[in-house]
């Protein structure tokens, strides 16, 4: 034993060293994959004639009223999409799991349908089905929100459903009810706190989808942010890159906030470990 232990430790150390190096290399490759295009874009967006650094692209961007209005419109639509997704996906997934598990397969299948149907077909279908009765509604850009809810279902529903599956929901619901909790209390006091990570993930995906969607908005002639980016790109290359970088920043800030906020639980567990 005594002779084996040090050599075993040495082997362990060497393995740990190799493992650490491997991790660093993988991280560097993945990081480069993301960072290089961003840096290249940033460089391109500030490069004027004769390689002078100039922020004229950004200046003209912020002076353009269409920039602000399209960004604001996209944010509003994204928020509406997030709210609708929350109201639709979360109760549906929980209810089906607890009360009608037979329908799970159907719901799973339905949730991936949007992946198989091109956006163009969705829009034409919607127009054909609703044009006569919803003529007025179709003129409001908020009609995009329910469409985005549907198109983002493969991502939002799947993400939330994975969280639901990882929890023994039926037992938790029964335990909660046996202790006297109503349905609302069970949902708010037991299920949602334990499904927070899945919920946040699903809503982020729905919001991100709404922020980035181009085809439907363009076909329905709404001037959302992605539509604006494409239009700018046709006329002014540097501005188009600049606007993409701004969009990236716009997406990055709320995502970081949500990640910090959503990490609350793991922090409390960590505190526990230290205390215990």
């Amino acid at each position: 034993m005594v002779t084996v232990t040090p050599s075993g430790d040495g082997l362990h150390l060497r393995q740990a060293g190799i493992g650490r190096m491997f991790r660093a290399v993988v991280l560097a490759i993945v990081g480069a994959f993301f960072v290089i295009p961003i840096l290249a874009s940033a460089r391109y967006s500030v490069l004027g004639v004769h390689n002078h650094i100039t922020f004229s692209a950004y200046r003209s961007l912020f002076d353009d009223p269409n920039f602000r209005s399209s960004l604001w419109l996209s944010l509003q639509v994204a928020i509406a999409t997030v709210i609708l997704t929350g109201l639709l996906v979360i109760p549906t997934s929980i209810w089906v799991t607890v009360r009608i598990p037979k329908l799970r397969g159907l719901l799973d299948a339905l949730s991936i349908v949007p992946l198989g149907v091109p956006s163009v077909v969705v829009v034409l279908g919607l127009l054909g089905a609703y044009h006569s009765i919803l003529n007025l509604i179709l003129t409001s850009p908020f009609i995009l929100a329910p469409i985005y809810v549907m198109l983002a279902l493969p991502y939002s529903y799947r993400t939330f459903d994975t969280a639901v599956r990882s929890l023994d929901i039926n037992t938790l619901v029964e335990a909660s009810q046996s202790l006297g909790a109503s349905w609302t209390r069970t949902l708010t006091g037991v299920l949602l706190p334990n499904l927070r990570a899945g919920m946040v993930g699903a809503l982020i995906l729905a919001g991100a989808y709404a922020l980035g969607e181009f085809v439907v908005a363009s076909l329905l002639s709404f001037n959302t942010f992605p539509v604006y980016i494409v239009q700018i790109g046709l006329t002014a290359a540097a501005e188009a890159v600049a606007v993409s970088l701004v969009a990236l920043l716009v997406a990055f800030i709320p995502l970081s906030l949500v990640t910090i906020f959503g990490g609350g639980r793991s922090k409390s567990t960590r505190r526990m470990r230290v205390a215990g």
Binding site: A175, L179, M272, G276
Partner: protein
């Protein structure tokens, strides 16, 4: 507080064509622990869940202290339940889990804390109140679940195979722990299990269930020593089934193992099967024995001697370590009775092969 009695009258439950509860009735006295025992699908869990209101009944009534609660929703029934699956709320600490039901009942924070401390002590985990479920072992989680169920001072305690997810050693110690707590609190309890050893160890009374009906209800001793039906005899404990024919002298001449004396009045010449436990049989080596010792398996405190009769059928005889010294595999032996047989079952004709063999179940 409201430690009452529980009365179930003629419960009926169908799952499609399956008759899960077929006129199931049971009375659990105040402070009594009744174990519902049976194979999977016998209706024991359905019975427990319908007491809790987690299954909607197709017929029958549930009373607690003569109050009809058949149509009350689960949340209003005030039943403490411990589930087979781990059911602690993962986002709450053990103490917060215990306080959950009290919080719903709007009990003041100070009082809640006192009560949860009291219950943590009762289940022997006073130091672990601040742990989360994932920081507790399976056995500890079930103890906290028991404390949580008892915190609301339930009318009845319902335990749905609470030990089946645990490993063997923890299972034995925790079942004794549950029994101690149950006695200390003095609450009417239904404990559902498929483990007959568990049932025999902790029950005041055992209800053996089969296909939605109660086959027999009795003390563990009664169930083991005097099973009312073939099913009970074969489900609880180990049993040999030996075929033979009744004789005029009130014995059964078995095909493989000689004559067995039976109490009772079966007419001579009928085909029967005798049910007898391994410890009700003895074995001795005889030079001209017709039977042969074919295998000895060591069970720890005793041996199981497998003996083959002249007709090729086999019985198992319990042999003490001292007796085993005189025996070796291949010996010609004969078997004898140490006590009365369990049951003698008439066999109409050869169509009786449909009777399932449970002899090896445990």
């Amino acid at each position: 507080m409201s430690q009452g009695e529980l009365r179930l009258e003629g419960l009926e439950k169908y799952y499609g064509a399956m008759h899960a509860l077929d006129g199931f009735s049971l009375h659990v006295g105040a402070g009594e622990l009744v174990v519902l025992l049976g194979p999977s699908g016998c209706g024991k869990t359905t019975a427990l869940r319908s007491v809790a209101g987690l299954e909607r009944l197709d017929g029958g009534r549930v009373f607690v202290d003569d109050q009809d609660i058949t149509h009350q929703p689960t949340a209003k029934r005030n039943m403490g339940i411990v589930f087979q699956h781990y059911s602690l709320f993962p986002h709450l600490t053990a103490a917060q889990n215990i306080e959950f039901g009290l919080k719903i009942r709007r009990i003041a924070a100070a009082k809640r804390r006192d009560r949860s401390r009291e219950l943590l002590e009762l289940v022997g985990l006073a130091d672990l109140g601040e742990r989360f479920a994932h920081q507790l072992s399976g056995g500890q989680q079930q103890r906290i679940a028991l404390a949580r169920a008892l915190a609301i001072e339930p009318a009845v305690l319902l335990l749905d195979e609470p030990l089946s997810a645990l490993d063997a050693k923890v299972r034995v110690s925790l079942r004794e722990e549950i029994r101690r707590v149950q006695k200390e609190v003095g609450i009417a309890t239904i404990f559902v299990t498929h483990d007959q050893e568990e049932a025999l160890a902790i029950a005041d009374r055992i209800g053996v269930m089969n296909q939605g009906v109660l086959e027999q209800l009795g003390t563990p001793a009664e169930i083991y020593a005097a099973p009312a039906t073939e099913f009970v005899a074969e489900f609880v404990g180990k049993v040999n089934r030996i075929h033979g024919t009744t004789t005029r002298e009130g014995t059964v001449l078995t095909r493989g193992f000689g004559a067995f004396s039976i109490g009772g009045t079966l007419s001579a010449g009928s085909e029967v099967a005798v049910l007898v436990r391994p410890e009700q049989l003895g074995i001795r080596v005889v030079a001209d024995g017709d039977c042969r010792l074919v295998e000895m398996s060591f069970l720890g405190s005793s041996f199981a001697a497998h003996v083959q009769g002249v007709d090729g059928s086999k019985v198992v005889v319990a042999v003490s370590p001292e007796e085993s010294i005189a025996l070796s595999v291949g010996d010609p032996v004969e078997i004898f009775q140490r006590g009365p047989t369990l049951l003698v079952l008439p066999q109409q004709d050869n169509a009786n092969v449909q009777i399932p063999e449970y002899a090896e179940s445990d």
